[in-house]
Point group: C2
Chain length 469, copies 2
């Protein structure tokens, strides 16, 4: 032992525990190797200027923890680590479907999120202060209801009724964002082996949660199943909108098959062009549709607040599952969001977000036109935060991601969103979080990376490898 | 149709949608019966003073929704409701284990929660304002990390290291309260049919989540299994503390069997008497223990913030599951709680909570001594928010709950907490949320209800029913 343990007499941690901790760290780091002898208690007590019982207590604790072993007359030695039966984590853990993470990049097109530089900080502060001064803070900070903070729930119910987005037998549950709504719906509705109809490609947060539950995913266009999950407005990842006629035919098919349609409607408020279409829920409020909405895309994703509207038996089951999952959602954030909404600040912010989104989408589409290699195609969404690019044959968006990231631009490759159809040539460009000039610059860089690869491939075709001649 | 629909021209909802909504409500309520004829469009337009196309559009929408059917030349009629194929919810829904809910009562001993009249509202406001003025609000409101808000995570890591409650290979995940920590651990670790060792009786939020996952629960005192969930400090519902010698023997057995011990340690900071005991995690930081802690019992349950410390492979799996579940916990509350803690306000509040808890526990135990019927026994916890009463043979706490509630006092009957052993005669008294005088009064009322029943039964024994003579 080269270094004396450093003890702090003014700490709240007793000296013997501090000493024990020092040895633990030295054993963990290998400074003290297996079999090495610890100083005698009397000797160490003298060196440290502490009572000998302090050292003895520390050694006793180390021995209890299986880190050292004492031999009468010979002293204490660092024990073999294998004295602790090791848990075999790799065998024990049921790992969920792997998430896909990209490295941070200067210009990120990887996450579908709103631009944080437009967050109305002052309006948010104002809403907070109104809640803090409301006299209700005690009950807001107390244990709440699994259904949600009742004043917010009533506000959302009223809004849904006004918008005709609620059947007479429907109820509403507040969730920790759209992701939790999907998770609860899966837990309540999807049994292992069940077939679930979805779009192809789809949002990986939905794909992974269904796969974790043992579902089999099928393209809804081949026919609806008992459960269908659809995003009619500005779908993630494609940005596409389901036309009215298709909405109606989906509802007819759902009615015939008694399909439960889960309508993911978190982007609809972000429409930049064209006329709003009624949601599936609005078209048939009495059908078994579960409508998911959220504040994340139109306001603050950091607050984690969404909601589900659906038939009462379904909402009751979701509420029971929600209680098991996390008792209820954060009440302070619910109260602040309610003030933000009912004060009109949310509506004002939303208009700004629509304006900003329109400008960003336009920048993205213009840049795609100018910079993407010829033969590329892309969607032209009327709203939302994403669009979908398909590169010419031969260009693999997954393989090219590393090169793009080295140039400072990130995105999610198409395979992440894949259900049945291969998506090697495609990528999702999430333009929402970037500023217009970043979008232009980012797509310019992507265009350069993609065109360079395309040129290389054309050259390789023109000049076959000599070895084969 | 007796009543004309009421339309609001100043509303943002178009008139035809308002009209459609009126009819929908009348059809749903039965005011408009199946087969009933709707007024002709021209006639209704005249009565309402609106354009005829408005009425036509409303009827078209009603027809689309399958609520009415039009017959050329004859008009529109309320359609048969069965035109919509009904979803069979009772068959479709995987219902979780039923939650137990008691009606609100004047004096509630039903929820294990801190007293909200002691919430330090000004300190909380101060913490909020510091976060609002910090200049970090933009990133706090933006999409965050599944692991938790990094500054709070670092604060908790530092605290765990200082308290020796963390092994060298451990990591930490922030969760939406202890309940979510249990849910994530179950999802990551427990496969259907797995045996899980638990205390008997246990917290129903734990019991139900394990049962929902298909686990089989066994008493840990009969032997540990691959997974064990234990609450060594002030267990819920009994309030009991596991002695040091038992902690050590549990750890020895866990080491021999490579058991993953999940240590639920959310009450330990609320110690009112006796000396603190080291947690299982502190006794053996290198074992496979997962330590759950939370701000709910020592600060604000409404904020939903807990955390898990455990071996890195486990925390990685939990983080991936957390991302599927709800992406991440609310970041604003995490930031506010961090300020509340690092400013020293949490420690100050905690001291007050310990003082208040001591007083409440004392009131509860004194009242139990004075008022419970002879032959009752109860635990004498050294901390926490609950104690456990067992009534004399013949008194069923579940059956007596209704009577107690009519007298204005609620509690949870013992069967709710049952694992293997019957708990008919027992009840949990959660004294934390009530004021001392309420506690005394509440237990006095319970004593009266229980003694009255006891007297009735004794009388019945002394005077056998005449029919049998």
């Amino acid at each position: 032992m080269d270094l004396l343990p450093h003890l702090d007499p003014s700490s709240q941690t007793p000296l013997y525990r501090q000493l024990c901790g020092c040895f633990e760290r030295q054993i963990a780091s290998g400074e003290l190797a297996t079999g090495e002898r610890l100083p005698a208690t009397r000797e160490l007590a003298g060196l440290l200027g502490v009572n000998r019982t302090t050292v003895s207590a520390a050694y006793e604790l180390l021995e209890q923890k299986g880190l050292i072993a004492g031999h009468v007359g010979r002293g204490s030695f660092v024990a073999r680590r294998s004295a602790t039966a090791q848990v075999d984590w790799s065998n024990l853990l049921a790992r969920p479907a792997r998430q896909f993470a990209v490295n941070p990049a200067a210009i990120s097109f990887a996450a579908s999120r709103p631009p944080e530089e437009l967050f109305p900080v002052e309006d948010f502060q104002q809403s907070c202060e109104e809640v803090l001064g409301s006299g209700n803070l005690g009950s807001i900070l107390q244990l709440g209801s699994p259904g949600g903070y009742e004043p917010l729930r009533n506000y959302l119910l009223e809004q849904a009724r006004r918008e005709d987005a609620m059947g007479p037998d429907d109820d509403l549950l507040i969730t920790s964002g759209c992701q939790q709504a999907l998770d609860l719906l899966r837990r309540a509705l999807v049994r292992p082996g069940a077939r679930v109809a979805v779009e192809d490609p789809i949002y990986p947060g939905l794909k992974n949660i269904l796969l974790e539950g043992g579902a089999r995913l099928v393209n809804y266009q081949k026919g609806l199943e008992q459960i269908a999950v659809l995003t009619p407005n500005f779908q993630n990842p494609t940005g596409l909108t389901m036309p009215l006629a298709e909405r109606e035919s989906v509802l007819r098919e759902a009615r015939d098959k008694a399909t439960v349609v889960i309508e993911n409607d978190i982007y609809s408020a972000l429409r930049y062009a064209g006329n709003p279409l009624p949601s599936l829920k609005q078209l048939a409020p009495q059908a078994g549709t579960a409508l998911i909405r959220s504040f994340s895309k139109i306001a603050f994703p950091g607050l984690r607040l969404g909601w589900v509207i659906g038939p009462r038996p379904l909402i009751t089951a979701l509420r029971e599952t929600k209680q098991l999952t996390d008792l209820h959602s954060d009440q302070f954030s619910q109260a602040v969001m309610l003030r933000f909404a009912e004060s009109g600040r949310l509506a004002a912010h939303q208009s700004k977000m629509v304006e900003a989104g329109r400008e960003r989408l336009q920048a993205a589409l213009n840049a795609a036109e100018r910079f993407l290699p010829s033969g590329s195609t892309w969607t032209r969404p009327e709203g939302g935060l994403n669009f979908w690019v398909t590169l010419p044959e031969g260009l693999d968006a997954g393989q090219l991601l590393g090169r793009a990231q080295r140039e400072g631009v990130s995105y999610l490759p198409g395979e992440v969103f894949r259900v049945e159809l291969p998506q090697h040539h495609s990528l999702r460009v999430s333009f929402g979080g970037a500023r217009p000039e970043q979008i232009t610059r980012g797509i310019e860089i992507l265009g350069r990376v993609f065109r360079a690869e395309s040129e290389l491939q054309k050259q390789a075709e023109r000049e076959p490898a000599a070895a084969w001649v």
